[in-house]
C-alpha cells in the first residue's frame, strides 16, 4: 500500500507541475481536465500521459472519496457551465441525472452503437450509460459485489457454497459459528446499493417507470420491499452483525476476515463487497489485517451474491466508472477522442491487473483471465455478476431517490419490515413531488 501511495504522490505531483505550467500559459496546447475518483489513480495517471497527444495534454483532477461528494463537486461545476470540465469519471448512477440536465456530451454514433450493439460490452455497464435512447458515457471499468467468506467458516457451518446461498443462511451460519457478516450500512450510497440488490433479488424494484422522472412509480411498498427489510432486520438483530454496522463501509469489515488469532474477534466473516477485496488480501499476506500466510489466503472463498429469497436468482450490484465528456468543454472532439483512448481495452486490462478494478468488456475480461493474476473461477464469477447484475435505478432524480431511501432505512437497527417499506415509499413519493424535505 505504501508503495502504491508513493507512486501516487510522484504521479500527482507531475500532474500538478503540468497544471502550473499550463496555467502559466507556456504553450497554446489545449489541456483537458480529467476528473477522477481516487480509486486506481496511478493507472489513470499512466493513461493521462499515454493518451495525451500532440494536440492536447490530459491533466488529472482528483475528486473526493464518497460518491455523493463526487457528484456534488461535478454537478456544481457543470451547473456553472464550466468549460474546463472535459472528462470525468462518473459513477453509473450519475449518468441519468447529468445527461438529463444536459451536462454530458452525447457519445458519437459509431462508438455508441459499438457499446450498445457490438456485443463486446457486458450488459450491466451498457445499461448504465444509456439514457433516453442516447449513449452519454463510455463504460471504463465495471464493479460488482460478490460474497467473500472464509472457507473454514462455511465448512464449519455446513454450508454448501457450491450452491446459491441466501442471506438468511449466511447470517445464521455466521451467528452460529462465532463469525460475522460484513455489509455496507453507513448512511451513504453503498447502503442503497445493498438495499437495491435485496429488493431486486426479491423480484421487485425501488422505482419503476424511471423515465417519468418525478412521477415514477415507487415499488418499495411491496413484498419485495418487505423481504429486503426482513434481511436487514435479521442481520441487525443477529449476533452476526458487526458492532459498527450502522457506520460500516467498504473498509470497516475488511479487518474481520482474518482477525488476529490472539484476540477474540471471531472466526472470520461472510462479507458482500466489491472486486477489490481479492487484491487487497493478496497484498496483505503476512501483514496485520491480512491472512497470516499463503495457506491462510487459500481459505478466502467467493460465491455469487446471496439470494434474498430462496430459489430466486440474486442480482449482484453493479458499479464501476463510466467516462463522460462535459457538454461545455472547449475541446469536445479532443475530449471524445481522449475518452475512447482512456477506456481502451489495454487501459481496462491495466486497471484490472494493477488496481483490481474489473473491465466492462468481454475481450478485456478474456485478457485478464489469461494473465493468471486471478483464479479463473473468480474471473468468471465477476463476469457473470456484472453481466447478470442489477444496476441501481436509472433516473434523473437518482440523488433524491438515494437520499430518501437512506433517510428512512438508516439505521439498519431501526428497519422494521412492517413499517419501513411502506413509510419509505410514501416518503420517497412525497420527496419526488417536492412535498417533503430531504
Amino acid at each position: 500500500m505504501t508503495h502504491r501511495s508513493r507512486a501516487l504522490g510522484t504521479a500527482t505531483s507531475l500532474g500538478l507541475v503540468a497544471t502550473l505550467l499550463s496555467a502559466c500559459g507556456g504553450s497554446d496546447k489545449p489541456v483537458l481536465n480529467w476528473y477522477v475518483n481516487p480509486d486506481g489513480v496511478e493507472v489513470f495517471e499512466k493513461y493521462a500521459e499515454e493518451c495525451s497527444t500532440g494536440d492536447y495534454d490530459i491533466v488529472l483532477q482528483q475528486l473526493p472519496t464518497s460518491a455523493t461528494d463526487q457528484r456534488i463537486q461535478l454537478a456544481r461545476r457543470l451547473a456553472a457551465e464550466d468549460s474546463s470540465t472535459d472528462l470525468m469519471n462518473l459513477d453509473p448512477v450519475f449518468v441519468a441525472e447529468f445527461a438529463n440536465a444536459g451536462w454530458l456530451a452525447e457519445i458519437p454514433e459509431e462508438k455508441a452503437s459499438e457499446i450498445t450493439d457490438g456485443g463486446d460490452y457486458l450488459a450491466g455497464p451498457v445499461e448504465t450509460v444509456t439514457w433516453d435512447d442516447g449513449v452519454f458515457a463510455i463504460p471504463m471499468w465495471a464493479n460488482t459485489q460478490v460474497l467473500w467468506y472464509r472457507r473454514s467458516l462455511a465448512e464449519k457451518a455446513g454450508l454448501d457454497m457450491s450452491q446459491p446461498v441466501t442471506w438468511d443462511q449466511v447470517i445464521q451460519a455466521a451467528a452460529d459459528n462465532n463469525g460475522s457478516v460484513g455489509v455496507q450500512a453507513n448512511k451513504y450510497e453503498a447502503y442503497v446499493v445493498w438495499i437495491n440488490a435485496l429488493v431486486l433479488g426479491a423480484g421487485g424494484a425501488i422505482i419503476t417507470n424511471n423515465e417519468e422522472g418525478r412521477d415514477a412509480d415507487v415499488g418499495l411498498d411491496s413484498d419485495a420491499g418487505r423481504k429486503a427489510a426482513e434481511v436487514v432486520q435479521a442481520l441487525a438483530d443477529s449476533d452476526a452483525a458487526q458492532s459498527d454496522l450502522s457506520v460500516s463501509n467498504e473498509g470497516t469489515s475488511l479487518g474481520r476476515m482474518f482477525p488476529d488469532p490472539k484476540g477474540d474477534q471471531g472466526a472470520g466473516e461472510f462479507m458482500t463487497n466489491w472486486t477489490f477485496v481479492y487484491k487487497n488480501y493478496a497484498d496483505l499476506i503476512g501483514k496485520p489485517g491480512g491472512p497470516a500466510d499463503d495457506k491462510a489466503f487459500e481459505d478466502l472463498g467467493w460465491a455469487r451474491y446471496p439470494q434474498t429469497v430462496e430459489g430466486e436468482t440474486s442480482q449482484p450490484p453493479v458499479g464501476g466508472i463510466d467516462i463522460g465528456v462535459g457538454a461545455y468543454s472547449e475541446h469536445p472532439e479532443h475530449a471524445m477522442a481522449a475518452a475512447e483512448c482512456i477506456t481502451s481495452q489495454k487501459a481496462q486490462v491495466d486497471l484490472a491487473l494493477d488496481a483490481g478494478l474489473m473491465p466492462s468488456t468481454n475481450s478485456a475480461y478474456d485478457e485478464v483471465a489469461q494473465s493468471g493474476d486471478y483464479p479463473e473461477d473468480l474471473i468468471e464469477l465477476f463476469r457473470t455478476s456484472v453481466d447478470e447484475g442489477g444496476p441501481r435505478p436509472e433516473s434523473a432524480y437518482y440523488a433524491t431517490i438515494s437520499g430518501a431511501v437512506q433517510e428512512r432505512w438508516h439505521s439498519p437497527a431501526s428497519v422494521d419490515p412492517d413499517s419501513t417499506p411502506e413509510e419509505s415509499a410514501d416518503y420517497l413519493e412525497d420527496v419526488l413531488q417536492g412535498e417533503a424535505l430531504l
Binding site: S5, P38, Q61, T65, R76, A80, P288
Partner: protein, 276 residues
Amino acid sequence: MKKLGMPIGVALILIWCLLPVVWVISLSFKAPDSITVGNPGFWPADGTWAGWENYRQVWDNDQFKRAILNSLGISLIATGLSVMVATLAAYAIARLEFKGKRMVLSMALAIAMFPVVSLVGPLFDMWRAFGIYDTWIGLIIPYMSFTLPLAIWTLSAFFREIPWEMEQAAQVDGATSWQAFRKVIVPLAAPGVFTAAILTFFFAWNDFVFGISLTSTEAARPIPASLAFFTGPDPFTRPASLLAAAAVIATIPIIVIVLIFQRKIVAGLTSGAVKG
C-alpha cells in the same frame, strides 16, 4: 481549599484543553494497517507504532499540500485586506463623530451572527454567474466580510485606548502630521492591529461552510474542506491515522501562533480588559 483550588483548576484546564490534542497526535502515530483491523486505546498498541510514516505520506499527498497553500494564501490575503478595511472603520468609530456610527456597530454585530449556511446557496449562484466560483477571490470576499465584524470590534476597542493627544503634542513639538502619525500613533496602534489580524486569521483558517460550498477542485479548496474529503492511498479504508496526521499538520500554524502571541490574543478576545 483555596491553596489546593488553584493547582487543581490549572490541572483541569490543561487536561481539558490538551488531552484531545495529545490523543490526535497519538492517533497519528498508529500504523494504518492496524487501523483497518481495529486498534483501540489511547496509545498505539504494541507493534503498531508507525513512526513518521503517516506524516510522510500526508506530506507526499499533493492535494493536501495544495490545500495548505490555498488556506495560507486565502487566509493571509483575506486577513490583510480585512484588517486594512477594518482599521479605517475602527479609526472612524473610535475617533470621529458621524451619523450612522451606531448603525455600523450594530451591523457588524448582526453580521457576526449571520447564519452562514443560508448564504451559500445564493452565493454559489452569484459566484458562478460572475465566474469566480472555485477561485481564491471567491473565498477571499466572503472571508473578508465575515471577519470584518470581529476586526472592527477588536480594533475600535484598542483604538479607544490610544492617547491620541500625543499626536497633537508631537505636532506642537514641530513634527509634521505624517511624522507624528508614523512615530507616535503607528507604534501605539500596531499591537491592536496585529491582534485583530491574528483573530481574523483564525476565523479564515477555520472556515468550512464556504470552503466546501464555493470550491470544487484543489484550485481553491482550503484545508478544512480538504480534510473532510481526504483520501488515503486506499480509497476504501478510511485513513484515520493519516487523517490524524493531516489534522496535526493543519494545527501546527495555530499552535505556533498561539505560542508566540498568546498574550496578545487573550488581550484581543477580552477587548483589552485584561492585562497580561
